[in-house]
């Protein structure tokens, strides 16, 4: 019996996934539980395992294709069994596209297997935003060069015999001989499809930015003592167990939120939702975008527990190994750019459905005038409280900010 391999729904909000790699080739034998295809969504990487024994009969969604949930990726069955010919990957647009460039690059070795050559032959432009269907006259070298540089050959006029595209057309016009001075060779911009993660981040940011009238309150915090305390605590800790500034910030934020529950609200239609749990989403920058795994009940966890949790979530987020539940359900978020020395303050975009987010800058040495008029060097950090002005007002944000400042300036309190 022929069994469909379908795009799974890996999270409530997932509408499509990208085929990042096929782990089996057509013809390979597959046992139930074998990993068959790697899927990326805006949030995670997931390896789809086979639900049945058999052989991979066909691959219907090439690597790089975006396929809607439940779309057909391929078929498993017994050799000789017919794959339904009407099978269509729901994303017709994607299915029509040639395989992504990575798969299509002709083999390094000369005279590679006939199959690979055929693939290479069918490859039209990389980054084929417009697939025109017309035959493009292009030299093999020009094709390789375009593939390598990510240039869309649909948009290039050929200068070779009969309008054939030759390498020089891809590389751009050669520099004109000038009477003197430097010659700068301009390179055409390259182009790539947005990854599904980038698209998702963009959609969420745009929604938040256009729906939420926000206000940001910047608060200056003296973190001299906090840094001293951290240094003391870390002195005898193993390298990978040392507390980060972020651990203290999360703990202090959670603790302050416990007495400012008005900040952990959500807007749901005409209703205000009063959240009860202090679940802190911490923004983690990935190569491909952004994700905010959640530290649940952060107010109830010790600094130690927060530290372990935060490190684990960040590490797995970078590897794309988070489960759906791990990045959903936050009630407040923190975006920390403090590791970039010199970042003073910035306004974060609210992570919906949260109503507030804390932006954390870097610690900067500054001079401070004490009550007695003397001047001393201290470490200051700016925290920026951004709130949804539909639900909260500036005063509420300011009170929270100032209370958090007090806590950070009296760091021993964070621990108790």
């Amino acid at each position: 019996m022929v069994v469909e391999i379908k795009m799974p729904q890996l999270g409530l909000t997932m509408v499509e996934g990208t085929i990042s790699a096929w782990l089996k080739q057509v013809g390979d034998e597959i046992k139930k539980g074998d990993p068959i295809v790697e899927i990326t969504t805006d949030k995670l990487n997931n390896i789809l395992e086979s639900e049945t024994d058999g052989f991979l009969l066909s691959i219907n969604a090439p690597e790089g294709a975006d396929v809607p949930v439940m779309g057909i990726l391929g078929y498993i069955g017994q050799p000789g069994e017919k794959v339904p010919t009407t099978a269509q990957t729901p994303s017709a647009q994607q299915a029509q596209q040639p395989p992504a460039a990575a798969q299509a690059i002709p083999q390094e070795n000369a005279a590679s297997q006939p199959q690979a050559q055929q693939v290479a032959e069918n490859v039209e432009p990389p980054a084929a935003a417009e697939v025109s269907g017309k035959r493009i006259k292009i030299s093999p070298l020009a094709k390789k060069t375009a593939l390598n540089l990510g240039i869309n050959i649909n948009q290039i006029a050929g200068s070779g015999p009969g309008g054939r595209i030759v390498q020089k057309d891809i590389l751009g016009a050669p520099p004109q001989k000038s009477s003197g001075g430097q010659v700068f060779v301009s390179k055409p911009p390259t182009r790539q499809r947005l990854s599904s993660m980038r698209k998702a981040v963009g959609t969420r940011m745009l929604a938040s930015h256009s729906q939420i009238p926000c206000v940001t309150i910047n608060v200056k915090v003296d973190v001299s003592e906090l840094f001293e305390l951290r240094a003391k605590l870390n002195a005898n800790r193993e390298k990978e167990k040392k507390f980060t500034v972020n651990d203290f910030i999360i703990k202090a934020c959670a603790k302050t939120l416990a007495s400012h529950k008005e900040l952990i609200v959500s807007l749901s239609g005409e209703d205000v939702v009063y959240n009860q749990d202090i679940n802190i989403g911490m923004a983690v920058a990935l190569e491909a975008g952004l994700i905010a795994p959640v530290i649940r009940h952060a107010d109830k966890l010790s600094l130690e527990e927060i530290s372990i949790k935060a490190k684990d979530l960040a590490a797995r987020a970078r590897k794309g190994q988070l489960g759906v539940e791990e990045y959903q359900g936050s009630t407040f978020s923190i975006s920390n750019l403090g590791m970039y020395q010199g970042v003073e303050t910035f306004t974060s975009i609210i992570n919906q459905p949260n109503a507030g987010i804390l932006g954390v800058g870097s610690a900067i040495s500054e001079l401070d005038i004490l009550a007695d008029g003397s001047i001393v060097k201290k470490l200051f950090m700016r925290i920026a409280v951004t709130i949804d002005h539909r639900l909260l007002d500036g005063a509420q944000g300011a009170k929270f900010g100032v209370d958090m400042k007090k806590l950070l300036e009296n760091p021993i309190e964070i621990l108790v």
């Binding site: 000369a110 590679s112 030299s139 093999p140 070298l141 390598n148 030759v166 390498q167």
Partner: protein
């Protein structure tokens, strides 16, 4: 009204330009004060190859015993060798004459000189003159052998140039050849097969500088087997005749030396035929040796005047002249074509033949281009082994990043015919994958081309890979 185009010179540059312009509807006049076909047909490519073919048959016949053939070779009849050559030349010249007629090209036998940028003064042999007007003029006046400035050579009846060497009354017993270019090597080969003791003398340290030097070394060994001495780094001093023999005084590595022979053949450089054309009168830009300067549309600094072939002083080859002729004709007729010389092969008609297209290894090194080399010796190729005992080699050069074909060099049987596929590869910007995806017939020497490409990736089939 159709374009009036006048072409000066009926060599492979001029007559091809004439045909193409006529095909495009122009009214074409072709002027030459000599026989149609220029250097190539009359005193160049064709007569040398005819003599070489005779030499090759003779050479093979002498070795027929090795193949089990009992052929009794009774020498040769030089007059018949010459007349065979003349007959072929005549047939080809007649062919060109017929082509001119078929294309309605008006041919005028006269010497042309510029009057204005749109008119030429044509002077016939009988002294009569006429002026022809033209919208466009294509200059294809070619080149002629040059006798270097060595005292005692100019006007000496025992000193001949390539033209003289093609119509000698008899084969000299010994001949000194001054020069180490294609013409020198070819004529040296011909005469040595016919029993002449040839000594080649050359100023510079290498011969055939435009060819891949690794394969030149193979040719040098082969010439040595034919008892052709090659002496490089020679400084020429003077020459004088004594008892119907010519003596050449030279200096080699500081030592004075005298060579003597029945004849000296000078094949060292060519002079461009632009002196009496009146170019300065209309202001056509030329280089210091009288070579005409053009852009890649073959257009000179005067927009309605084009120049092609040997008179540009760059690549002096018949097929280059013809290719440029077609480009000039197209552009003169209002089209827009560019001459791209990358696919122009260079052929050396020796025994075995030698041909190359694209870059040589030395050229890539000097331009700091990253490359891969693939080589295949012809002793491992069945057909070459049958044909000439497997003498020769195929060498290919690929760009390192994209593995595109940068150069193809062949020494061995049929090299000059096979080089066409190297030119196609370069013209089509083929990469190693494209070349190796093709199937080459067995048994042919051409199989070795694919093997050389495979060897670049250490996967040649018929030799162990390093």
């Amino acid at each position: 009204m159709s374009e009036k185009i006048c072409i000066i010179g009926a060599g492979p540059g001029g007559y091809v330009a004439a045909i193409r312009a006529a095909q495009l509807g122009a009214q074409v006049t072709l002027v030459d004060h000599n026989i149609l076909g220029g250097t190539c047909l009359n005193v160049g490519c064709i007569p040398t190859k005819s003599l070489l073919h005779c030499a090759e048959i003779f050479d093979e016949a002498k070795h027929a015993g090795e193949y089990g053939l009992n052929i009794d070779v009774k020498g040769y009849d030089w007059q018949k060798v010459q007349s065979k050559k003349n007959q072929t030349v005549k047939q080809l010249v007649d062919g060109v004459t017929g082509l001119m007629r078929a294309n309605k090209i008006s041919v005028i036998k006269a010497t042309a000189k510029f009057e204005t940028q749109n008119s030429l003064l044509l002077t016939k042999q009988d002294g009569s003159a006429q002026i022809v007007q033209a919208d466009k003029i294509i200059i294809a006046v070619g080149s002629r052998p040059e006798i270097p400035n060595i005292s005692g050579l100019e006007g000496n009846p025992l000193c001949i140039d390539s033209t003289g060497a093609l119509s000698l009354e008899e084969v000299p017993k010994e001949m000194l050849v001054i020069g180490g270019g294609v013409v020198a090597v070819e004529l040296a080969t011909i005469y040595s097969v016919f029993g002449c003791k040839v000594t080649m003398l050359k100023r510079s340290p290498i011969i055939l500088p435009s060819m891949d030097q690794e394969l030149v070394d193979i040719l040098v060994k082969s010439l040595a087997q034919r008892k052709i001495d090659i002496i490089t780094g020679v400084k020429f001093l003077s020459a004088q005749n004594e008892n119907a023999r010519i003596k050449l005084n030279v200096e080699i590595a500081g030592q004075k030396k005298t060579f003597e022979a029945q004849k000296i053949l000078v094949a060292a450089g060519r002079r461009i035929n632009t002196e009496n054309l009146g170019l300065e009168k209309i202001g056509i830009a030329c280089g210091k040796n009288g070579e005409i300067l053009t852009d890649d549309k073959m257009q000179t600094n005067i927009k309605n005047i084009y120049a092609i072939g040997d008179c540009l002083g760059k690549v002096m080859l018949a097929h280059t002249a013809s290719a440029q002729g077609e480009v000039a004709a197209e552009n003169a007729c209002g089209h827009n074509l560019i001459y791209d010389g990358r696919t122009s092969p260079i052929c050396v008609y020796t025994l075995p033949e030698f041909a190359g297209v694209g870059a040589t290894e030395d050229e890539l090194k000097s331009k700091n281009i990253d490359y891969l080399v693939g080589k295949f010796p012809l002793y491992a190729n069945g057909k070459a082994l049958i044909a000439n005992g497997g003498e020769g080699m195929i060498k290919i050069l690929l760009g390192k990043k994209y593995n595109e074909v940068l150069g193809v060099h062949i020494i061995g049987p049929r090299a000059t015919d096979m080089i066409a596929c190297g030119a196609l590869m370069i013209g089509f910007e083929a990469t190693i994958d494209d070349v190796c995806a093709c199937i080459y017939a067995h048994p042919t020497v051409s199989e070795a081309i694919r093997e050389a490409f495979l060897a670049a990736k250490s996967r040649a089939i018929h030799i162990p890979n390093k």
